[in-house]
């Protein structure tokens, strides 16, 4: 599992669809927030600039506006870029575990209960991860007890073969035993496959 922390730049878009959706929506909201904030800051000066009859008042407002504009434009762009980068990393920390969850669910669907979800340092959804691992652990135990029960039934049936005299019943039990042993092989096969736990 030494490749778990192998986080490269190209992996930042680990789940493009979801990440892109979250980032774009957040950016639009961020933009609206910036527009409203900038508008609220600049409105008094703009109002004075365009509606005052006094040149000195207009001049003061114009100077204020120029100073604010000089600072607001670059800070807005920087904020926007920083917000984008933050969103990229944040969604990566959510989508990374989600990808892991999805792979794990698929493995569980295939009957592989050996896989566990392992999160990287800094990943979100730790509680959910623990719940899923607990669920797999529980399922695994149940599965094991079923397998044990299965073994016991096979043992009982094999034991009964020695005492049963009726050929028809014997034949039926043998068929049943064959089926049960096949199932046992399947279960053993699924248990033996060690799942990967990569992200």
């Amino acid at each position: 599992m030494n490749h778990l922390d192998n986080r490269r730049l190209k992996n930042l878009f680990i789940n493009k669809g979801l990440q892109f959706k979250i980032i774009m929506t957040s950016l639009v909201y961020m933009f609206l927030v910036m527009v409203v904030t900038t508008g609220a800051i600049l409105y008094p000066d703009l109002y004075t600039m365009f509606s005052s009859q006094e040149l000195s008042a207009q001049y003061q407002a114009a100077q204020n506006f120029l100073v604010l504009a000089k600072r607001i434009i670059p800070s807005t762009v920087i904020l926007f870029v920083l917000f984008f980068i933050h969103q990229l990393f944040m969604t990566h920390k959510i989508c990374g575990p989600l990808v892991n969850f999805t792979t794990t669910f698929k493995k569980i669907g295939d009957g592989d209960l050996s896989r566990r979800v392992i999160l990287r340092k800094g990943d979100y959804l730790k509680v959910e991860c623990e719940a899923i691992n607990g669920m797999i652990e529980g399922l695994s135990k149940k599965f094991q007890s079923i397998a044990d029960e299965h073994e016991r039934v096979i043992g009982v049936l094999e034991g009964s073969l020695t005492v049963i005299v009726d050929d028809q019943i014997k034949k039926n039990i043998e068929c049943l035993l064959e089926e049960l042993k096949e199932k046992r092989l399947d279960m053993a096969h699924q248990h033996a496959s060690d799942g990967d736990t990569d992200v």
């Binding site: 950016l27 207009q58 504009a69």
Partner: protein
């Protein structure tokens, strides 16, 4: 029968949603793409429109601010000339001279007086000794380096106009 936890409606809606998507030509794998092309174009358009709108707004408003600055400095310069004329019976500076704060050296240095950043005022006509001559009035112009508008002040009429 206990029907708790069975959300039949949700499944019906999901089916309807899948059918709707299939109708539009989506495949199962496309769900991973998240945003449709239309949504993507819409979002990018909104951001671009906001950015372009913001840029245009700031450009236009900044130009107005520069014009106000030039106008204000011209008015101040006119007031200063008027004061100087009343004290010395002549105006300061000669035709062609300018006082500036746009990086170019000023050839009309006045102590304790400067114009705003980017503004330059040039005396374009008139005699400083006789600034109120109706045939050759004392006239100066102001302009901000980042604006195209030129403001002109006629000392004889005391009026400012846009050129």
């Amino acid at each position: 029968m206990d029907n708790k936890g069975v959300r039949t409606t949700a499944f019906v809606r999901k089916d309807a949603w899948i059918k709707k998507k299939r109708k539009k030509g989506f495949q199962d794998g496309d769900e991973k793409k998240g945003l449709t092309l239309t949504e993507l174009v819409l979002i990018i358009s909104v951001i671009v429109v906001f950015f372009v709108g913001g840029a245009v707004f700031f450009k236009v408003t900044s130009k107005s601010a520069y014009d106000i600055t030039a106008k204000h400095d011209l008015q101040k310069f006119a007031d200063f000339q008027d004061y100087y004329y009343k004290l010395n019976n002549r105006c300061i500076g000669e035709q062609g001279q300018s006082i500036r704060n746009d990086g170019v050296p000023s050839d009309l240095p006045i102590e304790n007086y400067t114009v705003s950043e980017g503004v330059f005022i040039t005396i374009i006509a008139g005699d400083p000794v006789n600034p109120n001559d109706p045939d050759n009035p004392y006239v100066f112009q102001a302009k901000h380096e980042k604006s195209d508008k030129v403001y002109e002040y006629n000392f004889q009429s005391g009026k400012m106009m846009e050129r």
